[in-house]
């Protein structure tokens, strides 16, 4: 059968755009090699490829930049990797409309460069911008520090084209910034990890580039103080774009020395930033802290990955979603839980929106029981406060004992019905997402 699959794919996209054998090594997930990888160059070819896969009942693993390929469970059968890298054109950018339409394989860096040339930007700053693609960022709902003010894909994506499991092209939303015609299909595909359809084009709303931008670190003497300072900043007149809380290790990765730190970002007119920086210093002092020199460009770019950079030998990465007022406690309890088992951890948070990244380091993998226990306790901390935890990255051995995804509750039944309606034969990334979807 594999040869039939490969031949049929080659007939659609040409033999140069089908990978087999050793050429598949970049697409191995958790030791599983797909049967083939295919790289269609047009939306019509994506449709045809899905037709081939559906006819042979081979599951399809959509692939953008591969930056989130390890998220979730490995698919039950790693059939066909569908690489979207050749769909890499920016289709339409009309600066006066503040909208852009791009194909799924365009990288975020490529998009920002084109928009920047016209004085605009997409106010979304996921990590790995050089590799992360438009389609992948939508599918994984990737975001970065600036989400504090500017939101996530759900606030910026206004239209989407998707190839369905049956190989049909479906459009949702549109190209205008305000639109309530029909159901909000773009929301459906954000964060769906390629399990409901393959995003081939997306339209975003844009912002003009601000005059100026600055990231100010606040050094504090404990995580608890950082939590209190966070609360004060949120209740103040400041309008930060970024509000990150970091423990000592994550702060050090940015070149900031403190028991805990806030990094507060501002943009706009220089006089607005100056005023806010002064006000921030006043708030910091009230919590026994002080502001430092603005972060340099390099540190700013590393803000999203500070906790990871602090732990090169990461054993697992967990993402916890809690209320902003719970962030400091979550970090304190979580850090203590790791310590109690002789493991180290590093923490950073998009604190103003309560999204915490926790990295667990382990000297050797033999500590599997301890690793699983700590991750279980972390999830317990989030759950106790009404929040959720996702095991964002971990070796398969860890995933085997700690569920990747959190419990869906009763809403899971609705989600299962959505999956059954849109991918009835379970062809798209089967088994990867929460609840086996």
């Amino acid at each position: 059968m594999p040869s039939t699959l490969v031949e049929k794919l080659a007939a659609v996209v040409g033999p140069d755009h089908v990978a087999t054998g050793v050429a598949l090594s970049p697409y191995v997930i958790e030791g599983r090699t797909p049967e083939a990888a295919v790289f269609p160059g047009t939306v019509d070819d994506v449709r045809a490829v899905l037709g081939v896969a559906a006819a042979l009942a081979v599951p399809v693993v959509p692939w953008g930049g591969g930056t989130a390929a390890g998220v979730g469970m490995p698919t039950t059968w790693s059939g066909l990797v569908l690489g979207l890298g050749r769909l890499n054109r920016i289709l339409e950018h009309e600066p006066g409309d503040l909208t852009v339409t791009a194909e799924a394989g365009v990288t975020i860096a490529q998009l920002q460069a084109a928009l920047g040339a016209k004085g605009q930007w997409l106010s979304l700053d996921p990590p790995d911008a050089d590799r992360a693609t438009v389609g992948g960022v939508i599918a994984a709902n990737a975001s970065g520090p600036r989400r504090h003010l500017y939101g996530t894909a759900r606030d910026l994506l206004i239209g989407v084209s998707v190839v369905t499991a049956e190989g049909e092209v479906v459009r949702g939303g549109g190209k205008v910034v305000k639109n309530v015609a029909g159901y909000d299909l773009p929301k459906l595909y954000i964060g769906s990890y390629g399990t409901l359809g393959i995003v081939v084009e997306a339209t975003f709303k844009l912002r003009p580039r601000p005059d100026d931008e600055r990231f100010v670190p606040v050094m504090l003497s404990s995580v608890k103080d950082a939590g209190a300072a966070l609360r004060s900043v949120m209740g103040s007149d400041l309008v930060p774009t970024v509000l990150e809380l970091l423990d000592a290790d994550a702060a050090r990765a940015l070149g900031v020395t403190a028991a805990a730190a806030l990094v507060v970002g501002f943009d706009g007119l220089t006089e607005q930033i100056d005023w806010q920086a002064t006000e921030l210093a006043r708030i910091a002092a009230a919590h026994g802290g002080r502001t430092g020199a603005a972060l340099g460009g390099g540190a700013t770019a590393r803000l999203a990955t500070a906790a990871r950079d602090a732990c090169p030998a990461a054993a697992s990465v967990m993402r916890l979603s809690v209320l902003p007022t719970q962030v400091a406690e979550t970090i304190e309890h979580g850090g203590a839980a790791a310590k109690a088992r002789g493991l180290t951890s590093a923490w950073s948070a998009h604190a103003g929106v309560g999204v915490v990244t926790a990295v667990l380091a382990a000297p050797d993998v033999a500590r599997a029981t301890d690793i699983a226990a700590v991750l279980g306790e972390w999830r317990g901390v989030a759950r106790a406060g009404g929040g959720f935890a996702t095991l964002e990255w971990a070796p398969l051995a860890v995933k085997a004992s700690v569920p990747v995804w959190d419990d869906l509750g009763a809403a899971g039944r609705v989600m299962q019905r959505i999956k059954a309606e849109l991918d009835p034969n379970n062809l798209l990334n089967p088994g990867r997402f929460v609840g086996g979807m």
């Binding site: 409309d97 912002r207 007119l269």
Partner: protein, 490 residues
């Protein structure tokens, strides 16, 4: 489906009384009349019952009874909708949520509030205002419309240019599903596992279930606000100024446009200080930090001047600001002074197409021998042409509907949408093929089936009634409920 026989109606009444109390059920046709239409009076339909539940459990009990009896049901907020969204099917049950109007919880530190669906939009801002907070989505109907209705229609308002529409402010929902199950979609935290079912529920126009609790974001009030009135002798110049402001790196909180006819109506009625002879005026508002406010205002004034503004005026104080906004907000009322009736359209276009489309709208309406006033969210490209007419003149209303359909087609043809905030409802269901293919509508239908498999929850809305989705209808055709004489236009 058809209205219930008198016998069945009499038999069901005591059951409903037992579920929501005798003071919570209407079944007398005279009383039901109040609920036969919403803000779009073109369509009317009578329910068998209107009930007024006080809790999610009561909503669920009524929904289960409707399922048992195979009766259609629909949620209703304040009934200010402009697309016929909360109209009952032929018979069935209307669930009015006006008794579920409490603010259940406000968490200032985390900037969220939990409210019941019948809460009036503005009342939330009143409630959190003393602490320095507000609820950002501000439909012009905010003194009356409910947050439940806002959720269903994903409502916008003047300040959505900067702050986004309803969906950007909703984190979670307690929902009575169309089968009567009570469950939560989303929650209080920003990320919840699985698909964004909250995001698809918002904007589903009451067809995915009934929201009974809503978690919304509340925002800190901006430190300062400045409002500019820019006056133009040509509509094209006003349109170009909108793009110019944005090109200068500014995102104002609001950019509203008011045209000549509307200015005259407003001045006749209320005297808000707009120059009567202007072809168009822009009302531009910036908000945020006090520092930098003057610099931003200067940039806006410069942009308007460069694009040919004849005059610009910055409101000196809150009283003057309120007066300028009064001109914008009372436009609908003012039309009543110059015309016996008007019909408000709601379309969206790419901002850069404004000059062309406004010109075409005037031509289309003129070709039908009618007049149009435009007052709209120019910064978002969200048009509101208001076609003025006299319902007593035979044939005039049909011409309004035809002109409206042509305007919708125009919006679609320039790459826009047939609704920016009022929803599709009954009114625009047959226009959906202007912008969506059969495949697009097919996925929407599947999504609907996942939530509402029996189609008892608000049937007949959003989806075109025609068999062939590809076929494009321009012009008015009687809606099925009208054709059967069960509803009427006036």
């Amino acid at each position: 489906m058809a209205p219930l026989s008198n016998d069945r109606k009499r038999a069901l009444r005591p059951e409903l009384d037992a579920l929501v109390g005798t003071d919570g059920v209407l079944s007398d046709p005279d009383e039901l009349l109040v609920y036969e239409s919403d803000g779009l009076t073109l369509f009317r339909a009578l329910a068998d019952f209107v009930v007024f539940p006080r809790s999610a459990e009561q909503v669920a009990a009524v929904v289960k009874l409707a399922n048992r009896e195979d009766l259609p049901f629909v949620a209703r907020g304040a009934g200010t909708g402009l697309s016929g969204g909360c109209l009952p099917a032929e018979g069935g049950i209307v669930l009015s949520l006006m008794r579920m109007n409490r603010v259940l919880e406000v968490d200032y530190d985390n900037q969220i509030a939990v409210v019941e669906p019948g809460l009036v939009n503005l009342h939330l801002s009143w409630r959190v205002g003393p602490q320095g907070y507000y609820y950002a989505p501000d439909p012009s109907s905010q003194q009356a419309c409910t947050i439940g209705g806002n959720i269903a229609n994903n409502s916008g308002g003047p300040h959505t240019l900067k702050y986004g529409v309803t969906t950007n402010h909703v984190l979670g929902l307690e929902v009575v599903m169309p089968d009567g199950e009570i469950l939560w979609l989303g929650g209080k935290t920003r990320e919840t596992p699985g698909y964004d079912v909250t995001g698809v529920f918002v904007g589903s126009e009451g067809t995915f279930g009934i929201a009974t609790k809503i978690v919304v974001r509340i925002l800190k009030k901006p430190q300062a606000v400045k409002t500019v009135l820019a006056v133009f002798d040509q509509v094209e110049h006003a349109s170009a100024a909108v793009s110019e402001i944005i090109a200068r790196g500014l995102v104002p909180a609001a950019i509203e446009m008011i045209d000549h006819l509307t200015i005259q109506a407003v001045e006749d009625a209320f005297g808000c200080g707009y120059p009567r002879d202007a072809a168009a005026a822009l009302l531009i508002e910036v908000d945020g930090l006090a520092v930098g406010m003057d610099a931003q205002t200067e940039r806006i004034v410069a942009a308007c001047r460069e694009r040919g503004a004849r005059d610009t005026r910055v409101a000196r104080d809150e009283a003057e600001r309120q007066l300028l906004w009064k001109g914008r907000k009372s436009a609908f009322g003012a039309y009543g002074r110059v015309s016996p009736a008007y019909m408000v359209m709601d379309g969206v276009i790419p901002r850069t197409k404004l000059p062309y489309v406004l010109g075409r709208v005037n031509e289309i309406v003129a070709a039908y021998g009618l007049r149009v006033g435009n007052v709209f969210h120019a910064g978002d490209g969200n048009l509101h042409p208001n076609i003025l007419y006299d319902p007593r003149k035979p044939g005039e209303e049909a011409r309004v509907v035809q002109a409206g359909a042509e305007i919708m087609k125009l919006c679609a043809d320039v790459g826009g949408s047939i609704s920016g905030e009022h929803g599709i409802g009954l009114e625009k269901a047959d226009f959906m093929p202007f912008i969506f293919s059969a495949a697009d509508l097919g996925v929407m239908a599947r999504l609907k089936r996942a939530f509402n498999p029996t189609n008892l929850c608000n049937p007949g809305k959003i989806f075109p009634t025609k068999k062939s989705c590809g076929e494009v209808a321009v012009g008015y055709r009687p809606h099925p409920i009208e054709a059967k004489g069960l509803a009427q236009r006036f």
